[in-house]
């Protein structure tokens, strides 16, 4: 029962993430522990904890006596982060292909195949969700606790760089779906080299998409804006 217990700081974290990525705050202006506290109706200490967590995740930068600033990412950073991602996730892919898919990955792969037969029958959201699940299951399939932990950290730490608006054009989503299916087949066939190459191409393509996106709308925060809460 203690598992379901939730602390104020967790709630604060979720709310602040919504504010930042939901575009309800101006990224140029510093956040303030006290103002957030008042706005969210949560004590200052939990808010502070949440901000420290976001700081470690690279989302925010705390400057003592000056304020807490929302960080942005440069195109150079994006490229370097994706290089990092390539290094780790290709390793995971190779390992997964040598061991074969885990039950979760197999399940995911089956659903991808179904979707691949007629992508137009599914919404972008449905396809995208399975895609996310696929990436997670793949990491788990690698069967290396340290690697899994490392990837989790990377995703958290460079969250801003990985952040994408949830739904693209259906056409693009369908293409990505096909890439996932090809990847899955390579893993199921125990072809480490093929799988690794596919993953590398997949991720590089992802970087391009992300870079284009960054070029077209520098302030990425606005893209998913659902400012459902403004003042409380």
């Amino acid at each position: 029962m203690a598992d379901t217990f939730e602390f104020e700081s967790d709630r604060a974290y979720g709310r602040i993430v919504e504010l930042i990525f939901g575009g309800a705050v101006d990224p140029a202006k510093p956040l303030s522990e006290r103002k957030l506290s008042e706005r969210l109706g949560i004590g200052r200490m939990p808010v502070r904890e949440a901000l420290r967590k976001l700081e470690r995740e690279g989302v925010v930068e705390v400057k003592p006596a000056r304020g807490t600033f929302i960080r942005t990412v440069s195109a150079d950073d994006l490229t370097e982060v994706y290089e990092l991602r390539e290094s780790l996730e290709c390793l995971a892919t190779r390992r997964a292909a040598m061991r074969g898919p885990s039950p979760a990955l197999a399940n995911c792969g089956a659903r991808l195949r179904v979707m691949g037969r007629d992508p137009s029958a599914f919404t972008s959201r449905e396809i995208d969700d399975v895609g996310t699940e696929f990436h997670d299951a793949l990491i788990e399939s690698a069967g290396s606790t340290p690697l899994e932990e490392m990837v989790r950290f990377m995703r958290m730490r460079f969250r801003l760089a990985f952040h994408l608006p949830r739904y693209f054009a259906h056409e693009l989503v369908a293409e990505i779906l096909l890439e996932h299916i090809a990847l899955f087949e390579a893993i199921a066939n125990r072809s480490p080299d093929t799988a690794e190459d596919l993953m590398r191409a997949h991720l590089r393509r992802g970087l391009q998409i992300r870079l284009d996106l960054d070029r077209s709308s520098p302030n990425l925060q606005k893209l998913t804006s659902r400012p459902k809460e403004n003042i409380e």
Copy 2:
């Protein structure tokens, strides 16, 4: 002048790291914010901040109402951790070889060359110190902040896995020195492929050394213990 300002929480962090990796605390027993605070003569809040930082670095695990536990790495994880290390440090090596050595790395390389001409003229410790510095400078030479941060996290989180007794037989240290020199030359020559291959071999050899060591003395933590401070 504000740059040199140091907070209590920074001091607490340093001291706690010393305690944990210096072997002055029993890894099996939980740490306590209050006891650490009293022991270090630092307030509880800075100690708490430091522990949260260590938690995000994967060194420690906080269990509410139960305690703060030091995380360990199992011997089984060793191979996987080194695989991880290979993935990241080879990437760094490749990048460094493409960009050429940074001033710090060049300086380090020059000293390595001098030592390489007559290793017997130097102590194991001297050679080993420059070797450590070499690895650090190499990461910095890669010129990728995300990568550098990731490597730092990895070394911290799996510090126990990387942990080696400081001084081996001089003969072995001299061999490692030669590997470092070869690596440096490849980087200075801007030969990414050669450098990457050398690094891979270097790290795999390191894993073998570490595995042999683990076989001969399972409780590796004790090896560097210098419990210079116990109570304050």
